[in-house]
């Protein structure tokens, strides 16, 4: 009997091919969107971690309270010794000094008058010492649009968009006007070594990258830095590991009654990152729930329409001597078969599309150009182990659920009514 029904299922495309296409489409969307959203979230988290938050970050207590103001008068002093200490004590991560600063970039004309000027966000990182960790982390080599990476003191990188706005080119000199660590006015000349595209609108709008030593010199911050960022050596953020290091560091180095004592925070404690991390965890769950609901409605309707179309057949089968229970069970088996085939097909298609977007990405820079939060312009999908099984929830569960719900009609209708529909 099962073989008989299976034969019918294969031959009747409205019972097999059409539902399989519907299920596969739904599963495809679920798998692809899951991978896409996971990728977007993780890209955002990693980008922020690379440029701003690190996996862990050390600031002075006072600096951490107003960190958005970039208050370098509250920066860490004796930063070299502290960094050495961190590198020897917490070897699960690498530790890097950075200076973040704000100011104005002034471009002078041939007679020395101001030709162009604009507010700038600057990051001082280790660019020319020979340690290329920071260069690799920020992906600077491939981000250079013109010129080259700084090779000597006094050279900077400037965001390509900002350079175009200021109408400056590689080799031009610009002046940073800012504030020293001691609150005095700082004016420091730099030479543009290259222009870069960071791939995130908030940085591309107006950012310069200087060598850490140059930034220290420009802002009178010798042996000082705004922050020391730590990156776990696995390359991926592990909240549990970060938490352990944070607790240990704060116990050893931080004093609550000293506002200049260093304090460590981890990525998940950053306001925006905390939300993003929480969202990235919950978003998949919400998305799956929405998809299960939406697909259940779609498949319920598909099942209902399919069921209504088959009431004549059910009437005949009842007349032949099948019980309502047997018909209901056969519908269940059919929906399981359709669900499994559709889910496998949809998962394969979803993974293929996800792989493509994971590899090549989709550039949404135009949409993100006014974003205040750091998000990459090109979004990539991310295939996680969950992508291999996530489709089974809506694909199989919803299909079977939809069929079961529509199949209740068999029980609700009197046998004679089904029989009349057979004759209609």
């Amino acid at each position: 009997m099962i073989r008989f029904l299976f034969k019918g299922l294969l031959r009747d495309r409205q019972r097999s091919l059409l539902p399989v296409i519907i299920v596969a489409s739904g599963v495809f969307l679920t798998v692809f969107l899951h991978s896409w959203l996971t990728g977007v979230m993780q890209d955002g988290i990693e980008l922020n971690a690379r440029f701003i938050t690190g996996h862990m970050k050390i600031m002075t207590r006072a600096y951490s309270l107003d960190k958005d103001q970039l208050p370098n008068d509250l920066a860490i002093t004796g930063s070299n010794e502290l960094t050495d200490s961190l590198n020897s004590r917490f070897q699960e991560a690498g530790w890097y000094q950075r200076i973040r600063f704000g100011g104005l970039i002034d471009v002078s004309g041939s007679n020395g008058e101001t030709r162009a000027q604009g507010p700038v966000f600057g990051i001082g990182i280790d660019l020319i010492s020979g340690n290329r960790e920071e260069i690799k982390r920020l992906n600077l080599e491939t981000s250079v649009k013109s010129g080259h990476l700084p090779r000597k003191a006094g050279e900077i990188l400037i965001s390509n968009e900002f350079a175009n706005k200021l109408k400056v080119r590689v080799g031009d000199k610009v002046t940073l006007i800012g504030s020293t660590m001691n609150g005095a006015m700082a004016m420091y000349n730099f030479t543009i070594a290259g222009t870069v595209e960071f791939g995130t609108s908030s940085l591309d709008r107006g950012t310069i990258l200087t060598d850490l030593i140059d930034a220290q010199a420009a802002l009178d911050m010798e042996d000082a830095c705004s922050e020391i960022v730590g990156y776990q050596k696995t390359g991926y953020y592990d909240d549990e590991l970060a938490s352990g290091i944070e607790d240990c560091f704060n116990e050893l180095y931080s004093k609550e009654d000293d506002e200049f004592s260093p304090v460590m925070s981890r990525l998940s404690e950053d306001n925006q990152m905390a939300q993003l991390l929480a969202y990235s965890g919950k978003f998949s769950g919400i998305m799956i729930a929405v998809f299960i609901l939406a697909m259940s409605v779609v498949l319920w309707n598909a099942g209902l329409l399919g069921g209504l179309r088959r009431y004549g057949e059910f009437g005949l089968r009842l007349a032949m001597g099948e019980s309502k229970g047997q018909i209901y069970r056969s519908q269940f088996y059919e929906s399981v078969m359709v669900g499994i085939i559709g889910t496998i097909a949809g998962t394969i298609l979803g993974l293929a599309a996800s792989w493509y977007v994971e590899t090549y990405g989709i550039n949404l820079g135009g949409i993100m150009k006014n974003a205040t939060m750091m998000f990459p312009s090109t979004f990539h999908a991310r295939i996680t182990p969950a992508a291999f099984y996530i489709g089974f929830i809506p694909g199989l569960v919803s299909t079977v659920l939809g069929t079961m719900l529509s199949g209740i009609g068999i029980y609700k209708r009197k046998t004679s009514q089904l029989f009349k529909e057979l004759e209609a």
Partner: protein, 227 residues
């Protein structure tokens, strides 16, 4: 005089709810059918023929009265028991053939035997025998869409007869057929009635069918006019 009574109907009344009231489809019907009858329920549309056929076929239940089919009281059968009665003892022939379009002639006729869990070799023998009765052994691999209306109805007869049921209920079996095919079908059923001693009960107002009947039961407005 009925030799061996297989269907006994006493005081059968059937009401269908209509709005806040009801419509009486059958009113105090008393009837009896014997083994091997070739009988027909005759009457205009709405006279209650199909309702009576459905109740005999355990597809519906009486509102009042008693219907005993092959010793079983239809009113007291649960869904499983009525399905079992239809599966083992009853055959149905419909006005619009109702063949399963995705299956071949052979598979359509085989379907009732699958429900009886008969072994494949026995099924094959019985299917071929049934197709021989209706003269369609050459069409075993054809799908219903490849057959004429008359051939489809012959397949339907083979499907109803393949398990050699005691009773065959036929609701307007010639309504969709031309005269020649109607006579062919009726001759086939009459022959099977003779050879297998199967009881045939028709619901019809077709004069061609009526001319073949050995017993005519006339219904009007749900009541028995003559039996």
């Amino acid at each position: 005089m009925i030799s061996e009574s297989i269907i006994t109907i006493k005081g059968l009344t059937k009401d269908f709810p209509v709005g806040s009231g009801y419509f009486r489809a059958l009113n105090e019907v008393n009837l009896e059918f014997g083994r091997g009858e070739f009988a027909g329920l005759i009457g205009p549309s709405g006279s209650g023929k199909t309702t009576l056929l459905n109740i005999i076929g355990s597809l519906d239940t009486p509102t009042k009265g008693e219907v005993i089919v092959l010793g079983k009281d239809i009113s007291h059968l649960n869904s499983q028991e009525s399905a079992s009665l239809r599966k083992e003892k009853l055959g149905f022939i419909f006005q619009s053939y109702n063949l399963l379009p995705v299956y071949t002639v052979y598979e359509n006729v085989e379907f009732p035997l699958l429900l009886l869990n008969l072994p494949e070799t026995e099924r094959k023998k019985m299917v071929m025998e049934a197709l021989e009765w209706v003269g369609l052994t050459q069409k075993v691999k054809s799908r219903p869409s490849m057959l004429s209306g008359g051939e489809c109805q012959r397949v339907a007869i083979a499907r109803a007869m393949v398990k050699k049921p005691i009773i065959v209920l036929a609701d307007e079996p010639t309504a969709n057929l031309d005269a020649e095919n109607s006579h062919h079908i009726l001759r086939t059923m009459a022959t099977l009635n003779q050879e297998l001693n199967t009881t045939f009960i028709f619901a019809t107002h077709d004069e061609k069918v009526i001319s073949y009947l050995k017993r005519r039961i006339t219904l009007a407005d749900g009541s028995l006019v003559s039996a």
